[in-house]
């Protein structure tokens, strides 16, 4: 009994120690995340009541809200946004569900490669994709339009409503949905479908009556995520919209900052409406999904793949075509664009390396490259450190504020990038934080906030996956909380932490809208430089930057894949 006795004295001193550590740590993280997420949103709300009367002078008033309700340009921007979003989704949803189903449930040849292609295409910067499609679909010089002209049809003008729709579809819209839906589709037990077939339903009938209804929660969730991203989309419209005089909400907000007297009140009021619309969408989805649980598999089963039979090769050809559109076009034409004497002009004697030489000696570009590297690394480090704590607090502890923390990490997903940028701009223009404006740190803050939802989600899912017993086993064998965190939790999380870091790197290197209003000549990253070049009509230089970003993000996406990131909901 001697050993047990030795603990009796120690026992009296151990009064609730673990809770205190967690509470202190949790409160600090909660305050940090809370202020970073809520301040910009609150500031936007406040600013919607401050009417600018002269540069630098404002009064309190309702003019901004009035403008939102009455001003024609704004009404058109709102209706354009809604119309573009709906059109895209009407096309993308059935296509994506069918393609994800084909990859997950049939014997399509090369299905794993197709899945990888969609996965990779999700990480291609939309601006780069836009640039490569301009080469093909420019109304005058586009390669496809030249062919169409010979055939006596066309042209298909990319600078139009349908051009914007098309560009989104081949950029992230379809591939994001396929990437998110496929893992869930794959996990459904095939006996549900087999039972339907045996009862006499055809294969398409089974998809419609059994598969889609059972997968509805997953489909609705993915649909919600994609619509929320569609409502905030910025750079594609910023490039393709002006020639056709098409403005959307995000570009309207951006445009007002280029005016002498920015309509901050109207932009803010619009922003409040956008966030409210996002929250309504989330509520609608929660209501529709309700308490229905995801169809997941608990036992062991062998998913029986449906044989496509005579459809095998036609379907394969279709997938090959889609892969060419979403993968090959951006890679080939973004590269070609950098080597053309005059961007978009195809002729016999058009190749040159001059743009690369010019770009690589351009001081703007070198500084932007340096900025991007600093921004990406800084963001990745901050995202990993912060989110590993957040995920641990939410999943593993009984910290009282963990539900609030969970909500706060998810909230930035409802804030469109341009609004985040706007909110932070307002924050960094307050006297106290003014010194941060124009610094890399300001951009890192934006990157960390924008990266919160996905990073926390991935880490939470990973922590839940390996269960708390692995840690409890360590405590029982005599390891303290800190020893357990270091020797069990961190080693287990490492592959996922690498993935989170890489995704943060990709985001920081390619995102535009969230930094659009925060960057100036001093801290401008590559992505903003590309946008600026395009706005100036210097497409050759823009495509050099596009290439740099494309290869950087692709390399990191492939690395993340090697570390096990497969996408999907909660994975």
């Amino acid at each position: 009994m001697a050993r047990i006795n030795a603990y009796s004295l120690a026992a009296e001193r151990w009064v609730l120690p673990r809770v205190e550590v967690q509470t202190v740590l949790g409160t600090l993280v909660l305050l940090l995340v809370g202020s970073a997420v809520l301040f910009p949103i609150a500031l936007i709300g406040y600013q919607s009541f401050t009417v600018p009367i002269a540069p630098g002078q404002t009064v309190l008033g309702l003019a901004g809200w009035q403008a939102v309700l009455t001003e024609a340009s704004l009404r058109i921007a709102v209706s354009n946004t809604v119309l573009l979003t709906l059109t895209r989704q009407v096309i993308a949803l059935p296509l994506a569900v069918l393609m994800a189903w084909t990859i997950a449930r049939t014997d399509l040849p090369g299905r794993n490669w197709f899945e990888f292609a969609f996965w990779l295409s999700f990480f291609l910067p939309p601006l780069t994709v836009t640039l490569s499609w301009i080469l093909l679909l420019d109304p005058h010089y586009g390669l496809i339009n030249q062919v169409l002209k010979l055939l006596g049809v066309g042209p298909f003008n990319i600078f139009s409503f349908w051009g914007i729709v098309w560009t989104h579809l081949v950029a992230r819209n379809v591939s994001a949905m396929v990437m998110l839906l496929t893992p869930g589709f794959r996990n459904m037990n095939s006996s549900y479908e087999e039972a339907s077939r045996i009862s006499g339903a055809s294969a398409p009938g089974t998809i419609l009556r059994i598969f889609v209804p059972m997968m509805l929660p997953a489909i609705l969730t993915v649909q919600l995520l994609v619509i929320m991203r569609a409502l905030e989309s910025f750079e594609v419209e910023q490039i393709l919209g002006p020639p056709a005089n098409i403005q959307v909400m995000s570009t309207w907000i951006y445009a007002t900052f280029l005016q002498r007297l920015p309509r901050i009140d109207a932009a803010s009021a619009l922003a409040v409406l956008m966030i409210a619309a996002m929250l309504v969408l989330v509520a609608l989805r929660n209501r529709a999904v309700g308490s229905r649980r995801y169809t997941t598999v608990t036992g062991k089963f062998q998913a029986q793949r449906l044989a496509l039979g005579m459809w095998k090769w036609p379907v394969f050809a279709f997938f090959l075509l889609v892969t060419l559109l979403v993968m090959a076009v951006p890679f080939v034409f973004a590269t070609l664009g950098t080597l053309m004497k005059l961007f978009g002009f195809f002729s016999n004697d058009m190749w040159t390396l001059a743009h690369w030489q010019e770009a690589l000696s351009d001081r703007d570009l070198l500084r932007a490259l340096q900025n991007t590297v600093m921004l990406a690394v800084g963001t990745a480090v901050a995202v990993v450190v912060l989110n590993s704590f957040i995920a641990y607090l939410i999943v593993r502890t009984r910290f009282v504020g963990r539900h609030v923390l969970d909500f706060l990490t998810w909230l930035p997903f409802t804030v469109p990038g341009i609004l985040l940028s706007f909110g932070l701009l307002t924050l960094f223009l307050t006297p106290l934080l003014r010194f941060m404006y124009g610094s890399i740190v300001a951009l890192i803050v934006a990157g960390v906030i924008a990266g919160l939802p996905l990073a926390a989600q991935i880490l939470k899912a990973n922590l839940m996956q390996f269960g708390s017993e692995l840690e409890e086993a360590s405590w029982l064998t005599g390891a303290s909380w800190l020893q357990t965190y270091r020797r069990i939790v961190l080693p287990l999380l490492t592959p996922t932490l690498v993935v989170v870091a890489l995704i943060a790197l990709i985001g920081a290197a390619s995102n535009i809208s969230q930094v659009a209003l925060l960057s100036n000549a001093a801290n401008r990253p590559l992505s903003m430089l590309q946008l600026d070049y395009m706005a100036q009509g210097r497409f050759e230089l823009a495509s050099v930057v596009a290439c740099l970003i494309l290869f950087m993000t692709t390399a990191m996406a492939v690395l993340a894949r090697l570390f096990g990131y497969r996408g999907g909901l909660g994975g």
Partner: protein, 330 residues
Amino acid sequence: MAETVLRLEAVSKLFGATRAVDRVSLEVERGHVFTLLGPSGCGKTTTLRMIAGLERPDEGRITFGHATIADAERRVFVPPHKRNLGMVFQSYAIWPHMTVFDNVAYPLRLRGLPKREIANRVDRVLALVGIQEFAQRPAPDLSGGQQQRVALSRALVYEPDLLLLDEPFSNLDARLRVQMRVEVRLLQQRLGITVVFVTHDQVEALSMSDRIAVLNRGRLEQVGVPSELYDRPASPFVRDFLGQTIRLPGNVWIRPEDVQVTRRNGTIPSPTSVEGVIDTLLFVGDRYEAHITLTTGEPMLIPLARAGAWSPGDRVLLSWSNDRAQVWPE
């Protein structure tokens, strides 16, 4: 004279408004296997986790040896890593990023033992459970039974004062489960270690335990040695949970194996026998499961020996001895 190692005094755990564990008091004696038995959600695992220090009791006190390890009123709580307990988890919780050797050596490394000593002790304990040859394997490459042996080695290697087993056999297939039951029982007797064992399987509980505590809805129903619980259950819950029972006319309850079935051939039923007809016979290998309807109309399932050459439609006489039967109020 048996010595009490672990004592729970009116221990409760609340999850929101529900009392997951409701004023449970227990005493575990040195060298015993003490089993917490009950259906899922009865509070047995929560009780075990409070002993382990993974949950904090909301009421009551837990003493271990002469030390108080948890006392809700005095806000005393010894964290799990200071309790010197061993535990085998339901999922085994083998750390996937380590080899078998590293898993088992982990507790010894924490205790700062010299390298040679660690290697010796790990070798010895792996030999004890028969998985010496797997020492350098990565943990995820093991089968369920092997993982369980690793978990057991890891819990035993630092010679804890008490071993906690949380449904350790539930993830094994039937054959392996029977084998591990015997092995663990033999190991426990050889080492003389005190064990607190949680299970929902009454056969496992009856065969492994020195004493069993039956829990239901967070409350203690009955504590006793296995045969006592089986033969003299203190409540209908314990009676039904520990095995099959047959309800005979007059509210007489009896275990099926205590009923003698004979062919009805003119004898007049005594007060301790009833008549019935075999409806159907289910052949289950070593015996028949006979579905018999009494003349009173009540159906029941009774095991019959194969030797009897029974067939459906046989009229039978069921008789029993009163000292094996219990009368329960409605």
